[in-house]
Amino acid sequence: MAKKEKKKDLNRRAFIDRGFRFSIGLGLTGLGVGLYKRSRAKEYVWQLDPAKCIQCGRCATSCIMTPSAVKCFHVYDMCGYCDLCGGYFRPEAKNLTTAAENQLCPTAAIERKFIEEPFFEYHIIEELCIGCAKCVKGCGAFGNGSLQLQVNHRLCVDCNECSIARDCPADAFERVSIDSPYIFAGFSKEENKS
């Protein structure tokens, strides 16, 4: 008698288990199908919009990578090849030489090269750049705005949620299609305003 009861009990439990299992399975399938419709076939990556960027300097510190995966990019098409470069020299620089005390970049990551009178070309040494945006600010304020911050996709590990995006005061970070992973603002901020 006792044995029979126990068997019945077990069967009932097995039945309940099966019911739950079936409904969880059904729910998962529904969820999967529903989400699949909203999913994207193309991958997206994090990028920042230089038009929104206010050069606060948090890109240098908020990234999970040290140094940050955000680097300064030089859009040569926009560069005026100035001798007095707002991105290269400190505002109070005494003379326009490559001496360390004249440079704005804290890590000396910008290389200045003479091309022809009166033009100079500037290169970003990616290994040294920390993404602090000091030069970006300088270039935007006094020059054409050809120095722009961008996420370097060779370095970015594409976190589920970008920790810089979380800290960005200007909400400049967004996910962009992997096909066009870089955004360059084609004009400087000041002109946009006027």
């Binding site: 206010i54 999970i64 290169h123 020059g143 992973p181 004009f187």
Partner: protein
């Protein structure tokens, strides 16, 4: 025809002018006389998409291998080496992202925010381990999850903790789960990723706070095995519920339990249920009365929880960046900065949104948090109620069996069982 050409010309001129507007620069690009060619702007390519598919493939393969090792081979050694592989691949090689634990936030965000398009890998990482758990128990926890396996390797001298303490701490994952869903659903933050204690180790790069939390968890893990999995992990809370209905599950003994008690203390997670003797069976009326009492208590707890949650909705919402911004603007606190205008406020002014628009937007967000606070509180109340009920339910067991909910399928207990699978064939 002429007209057409004229319009095309006109368009061309207009577009040129548009181009000019954008190309007006303070210092126009020089034309070099020395024939210098301008270097291109270097834009390194992102990681190939194919590797994401590889991740999903590795996940399926690892889940299958661990499940086979746990259910069929019953090999602790195999599971151990698989967990080393998981730490190396999902942890150090893939740098802990994306993981199943965090993917539940992507799922929530995708459900609540139609603008967010979820990556396919996130769906796979969320659903596949649950499917495997539904059929074979928490084999994902045993040897695939990089967070769990990292702690598993550290579980060197496990001690037992009091049952009541374990039950109380066991509620935390559900609260964490509720909070994570609330913040993901309101597009506020991914708190699981933000407070992931081990991802900093995988990347050899952690803030001091996260490094300390992770370090403390790993060191406690030496004595209290896998503390994150048992007392924090929100995905583990989900798997715990699903695993209770799993079709197959690891068993301590390959055939029949001989009540030798050798496995009794083998489980570092205290997930082995001891036999409950039949003579402890209580009178039916008492059990019925208790059942009735709890059916009344649970709705009351849900209401109390919901009300409490809704009272705290403004505190919950203050984490949201927009709510914070509105707060700082209203109170003119400037994010606690005294020397200069806070970057958030500068950016807000530059973006050109009016304060009224922001306040309206924030009011809508706070309303969401009010509803969310009710649901979260009610959910926590429900979890409390169900935990209370589960403490008083006796399941009559004759053998030592793994608790299907809390068992992490690590297969440690298997090595303690003296019963050999061959014995069965000999008897027959």
């Amino acid at each position: 025809m002429k007209k057409k050409i004229a319009t095309i010309l006109l368009l061309a001129i207009i577009s040129l002018q548009v181009y000019n507007i954008y190309a007006i620069q303070r210092f126009p690009k020089p034309e070099f006389e020395s024939g210098h060619t301008q270097p291109p702007t270097v834009t390194p390519d992102p990681r190939a998409q194919a590797l994401d598919i590889l991740d999903t493939f590795v996940l399926v393969a690892a889940l299958s291998v661990v499940t086979w090792l746990v259910i069929k081979k019953r090999s602790r050694k195999g599971v151990f080496w698989m967990s080393v592989f998981a730490v190396l691949y999902f942890g150090f090689f893939r740098e802990g992202c994306i993981c199943s634990v965090g993917s539940l936030q992507n799922i929530t965000l995708a459900l609540f925010n139609p603008e967010y398009s979820i990556p396919l890998t996130a769906i796979a990482f969320f659903i596949l381990p649950i499917v495997y758990t539904l059929f074979f128990g928490r084999t994902f926890c045993a040897g695939v999850c990089p967070l769990g396996t990292l702690q598993d390797i550290f579980a060197l001298k496990p001690m037992s903790i009091k049952t009541w303490l374990e039950k109380v701490l066991g509620i935390i994952p559900f609260i964490y789960l509720g909070l994570a869903i609330l913040y993901a659903a309101t597009s506020t933050d991914f708190i699981i990723c933000r407070y992931d204690p081990f991802v900093g180790f995988f990347r050899f790069d952690a803030t001091f706070m996260m490094f300390s939390i992770g370090g403390v968890l790993l060191l406690t893990g030496i004595f209290i095995a896998r503390p994150y999995c048992r007392f924090l992990c929100p995905y583990g809370a989900l798997l715990n519920l699903v695993s209770r209905f799993s079709k197959k599950h690891i068993t301590i003994t390959p055939t029949e339990c001989i009540q030798c008690r050798l496995c009794e203390d083998s489980c570092p997670f205290e997930a082995i249920d001891k036999p409950v003797l039949l003579k402890e069976k209580e009178e039916r009326p008492i059990a019925v009365r208790r059942f009735l009492m709890y059916t009344i208590i649970i709705p009351v707890l849900i209401l109390i929880g919901g009300y409490t949650g809704s009272q705290f909705h403004e505190n919950l919402a203050s984490v949201n960046t927009k709510v914070r911004l509105a707060n700082e603007l209203l109170n003119e606190t400037n994010y606690g900065e005294t020397e200069q205008e806070a970057f958030e406020i500068t950016a807000f002014k530059a973006a050109g949104q009016s304060k009224e628009e922001l306040y309206n937007e924030v009011a809508a967000i706070i309303k969401k948090f009010y509803i969310g606070g009710w649901i979260l509180g009610g959910f926590i109340g429900l979890v409390f109620g169900l935990t209370l009920v589960s403490l008083t339910i006796f399941k009559y067991r004759e053998d030592y069996t793994p608790n299907k909910g809390t068992c992490l399928s690590c297969a440690r207990c298997v090595d303690y069982c003296p019963v050999l699978p061959e014995v069965k064939t000999e008897l027959q």
